[in-house]
């Protein structure tokens, strides 16, 4: 069966605490922390961008499993913050991991779900035997305008998944998607920061699409929440995934391992994929994982995944790359001034 051959995550070590951002904008830190359920967010270093994060995540995946990089026939990088408008991040990643030149590559954009769209593309190519392996990456140095609600959560990080057939660490039993034209969040060409429809991003955006894809999956597989050991949802804040999990009938215990947003923030295209990675960090053979991403604009991709015994075999070395929990430990905290410098929010000359 087609599935996940390996996975890797990269999260920059810098953090800023939500109350520090609130201090600068004169907002009530307790209200914001309580409202979002997010306490701090990751911040890229001065020389980190989506390309470096994607490369680090892909390298972490390849450290965990020996894969002939020449057999990697596709690299897809999903992001809202590709360094170039024209020039693919995916080629940089392909070159850095030694997968070039016999490969196809493309950058994807579908707000926060472009990474899982890449995962679906890789599944199709592998299943149709066009390529032996493909890598799908979701990575972002997420943008949030100064003072905007997004600034409290927009974080940096990414996850890479190597898709193959046969000796997978986790089979992807099925994927299905729920997509509509819903303008809940957008960034036009040339704009530095995304805009959003406030509360419109909630019910008509996130909740409609996540539930839509999830219920399609339940119907297709004849399953319900109780059939899964874990559930992972896109996590723009802690409240949305907790609420949608409850609406669908999942328990707090099922989403806990994959709920990384309180100490990470929203890594946009990386969000649900890092959540899945954190779940794979602790999952055991035969355990079943339900994943639903969300991208504004809007759509959700759902995945029904079963962990195989390969995850604990000699073929795979989970400890060869740091677990998400470890990547979140020992952060270096920045104040708002250094954060602004790291994020390029200080314009020196124009």
């Amino acid at each position: 069966m087609v599935g996940i051959y390996s996975y890797g995550v990269y999260i920059p070590r810098y953090r800023i605490k939500v109350p520090e951002i609130a201090r600068v904008w004169g907002a009530n830190a307790d209200d914001i922390t309580r409202g979002l359920g997010v306490f701090e967010k990751s911040v890229p270093d001065l020389d980190e961008d989506t390309a470096t994060i994607a490369v680090e995540a892909a390298r972490a995946a390849l450290r965990r499993r020996k894969i002939d990089t020449g057999a990697i026939g596709a690299v897809y990088v999903g992001s809202e913050s590709h360094p170039y408008a024209v020039k693919p991040t995916a080629c940089t990643v392909g070159e850095a991991i030694g997968a070039t030149p016999n490969m196809t590559a493309a950058d994807y954009e579908f707000a926060c779900k472009a990474g899982t769209a890449g995962l679906q593309t890789c599944m199709g190519l592998v299943r149709s035997k066009m390529i032996p392996f493909g890598i799908a990456i979701g990575a972002d140095v997420a943008q949030g305008a100064p003072g905007d609600a997004l600034e409290y959560t927009a974080a940096a990080g990414g996850a890479a998944f190597v898709v193959g057939e046969g000796e997978t660490i986790a089979d992807i039993n099925r994927t299905c998607s729920f997509t509509t034209d819903t303008p809940d969040f957008w960034r036009r060409e040339g704009q530095s920061y995304p805009r959003h429809g406030g509360r419109f991003t909630g019910d008509p955006g996130y909740f409609k699409h996540v539930q839509g894809a999830a219920r399609l999956m339940f119907d297709a597989m004849g399953t319900g929440p109780k059939d899964y050991d874990y559930a992972v949802f896109h996590q723009p804040n802690a409240k949305f995934p907790q609420r949608v999990a409850k609406m669908l009938g999942f328990t707090d215990a099922q989403i806990r391992p994959g709920l990384v947003v309180p100490k990470l923030g929203n890594t946009y295209s990386g969000s649900s994929m890092i959540g899945l990675a954190a779940t794979l960090d602790v999952a055991k053979p035969d355990e079943r994982i339900f994943v639903t991403s969300f991208g504004s604009g809007a759509g959700s991709d759902a995945f029904d995944i079963t962990v195989t015994d390969v995850i604990e075999s000699e073929a795979f070395d989970r400890a060869a790359a740091p677990a998400v929990e470890k990547l979140l430990a020992n952060p270096i905290y920045l104040d708002y001034a250094l954060y602004a410098k790291h994020k390029g929010k200080i314009v020196m000359q124009k």
Partner: protein, 386 residues
């Protein structure tokens, strides 16, 4: 002057209607009102539509004609007039309909109110609402409506013995009533602590002191009382229709803790109806903020200045109290689609007087509505009787 009666009411659910347009909201409410009245559209002689700011909320002006068109009345060439008095637009539209019928000019008239507020972001919405205040002297200086009502609250709490908890009791009571109203935006019960621990908006007003941003529409049908029995066995009479104005800017008022236009409109209404406060069985007041309900109860004369907070906390304004206030849940819990609110108040009082209010029913024969534009620059008061 002819006596006037309400023969039909209709209201959409109030809330965030993400997939319903401005015109669909109106058509829905209008159809409900006509169905309730048991009449068809071609019998309508005129339409009066309360709407504050469709030009900015949905970039649509010429609302009168639009609504007549989408109500299917364009080919009948029915006169249709948009009425605007900020948040009192609905109440004023009803008053125009009443005047029209009372004068003998028109017989079967629909008064409606509609607002679609969620097509814009919160910041834009707050700015549009601020246009109901004095843009040059208040808006340009940074004042928003929460800010202006916070000034009223601060002045009031400095001069009268109103506690923060008593102010919160207004919101608690209105959510309790909203929980029993199937069209209310918020049907959840809250506690004093919910209000006191909510986000600060403009000191001392917190999030749960403020009415929400809402989409919704409401419509009523009025006819001469002498013809009302042709359509219904339970017409509701319009016993008084009063309106008053005041300075548009808060700082020009004699006293910012008393809405003199409410006092004036209330007195005129009581005089017209030949009634006193003790005769009123329920009142829908304009609680855009909790402090506004406190002021309204007093300025309409239901108690002395400085007493409304204590009476609210004691339950005097609850459904089973001496004078039930905002049985619909008020603007706070039922929601506040600004142009529709005044008509919704009429719908609520009519529903109560007919005995159709279900779990929130009170024992009532005479009810009052109080609709405010801005910080009290326009006030419209009606008294209705079963």
């Amino acid at each position: 002057m002819r006596d006037v009666a309400v023969i039909g009411v209709g209201c959409t659910e109030f809330g965030e209607h993400w997939s319903t347009s401005f015109r669909d909201l109106f058509v829905t409410a209008g159809a409900l009102a006509l169905e309730d009245a048991g009449i068809s559209g071609e019998k309508i002689d005129a339409l009066y539509v309360g709407n504050m700011s469709a030009g900015r909320f949905v970039e649509q002006e010429h609302i009168g004609a639009l609504i007549a068109d989408y109500a299917g009345l364009a080919s009948n060439h029915v006169p249709s007039t948009r009425v605007e008095a900020a948040c009192a637009s609905g109440g004023l539209a009803f008053r125009q309909a009443v005047i029209s019928v009372a004068s003998g000019m028109e017989d079967i008239v629909v008064a409606a109110g509609v607002e679609k507020m969620t097509d814009v972001g919160t910041g834009a919405s707050v700015d549009m609402l601020a246009s109901a205040a004095d843009r040059e002297w208040e808006g340009f200086a940074g004042a928003t409506f929460p800010g202006l009502y916070a000034m009223i609250a601060n002045d009031y709490m400095h001069r009268y013995p109103l506690t923060r908890e008593q102010l919160a009791a207004v919101a608690v009571k209105n959510h309790e009533n909203g929980a029993k109203n199937p069209i209310a935006q918020f049907r959840n019960r809250i506690t004093i602590d919910t209000v006191l621990s909510s986000s600060m908006v403009a000191d001392p007003l917190r999030l749960f002191d403020c009415s929400p941003i809402t989409d919704g529409a409401a419509a009523v049908v009025v006819v001469p009382l002498e013809r009302a029995r042709e359509f219904t066995d339970s017409p509701v009479r319009v016993l008084a229709s009063a309106q008053a104005s005041d300075t548009i800017a808060l700082h020009d008022r004699r006293d910012i803790s008393t809405l003199d236009a409410t006092v004036a409109a209330g007195k005129r209404a009581f005089a017209q109806a030949g009634l006193a406060q003790k005769d009123i069985d329920l009142v829908e007041v304009h609680d855009c903020f909790t402090i506004a309900e406190i002021c309204a109860i007093e300025d309409l004369g239901f108690c002395k200045k400085g007493e409304a907070g204590r009476l609210t906390a004691e339950g005097a304004t609850a459904l089973n109290g001496d004078i039930p206030v905002n049985t619909s849940g008020g603007l706070k819990a039922c929601g506040h689609p600004v142009g529709a609110t005044g008509i919704k108040q009429i719908c609520e009082v009519v529903t109560q007087l007919r005995g159709d209010a279900g779990a929130r029913q009170v024992d009532a024969e005479i009810g009052m509505t109080h609709n405010v534009g801005g910080t009290g620059a326009t006030v419209v008061v009606h008294i209705l009787g079963a």
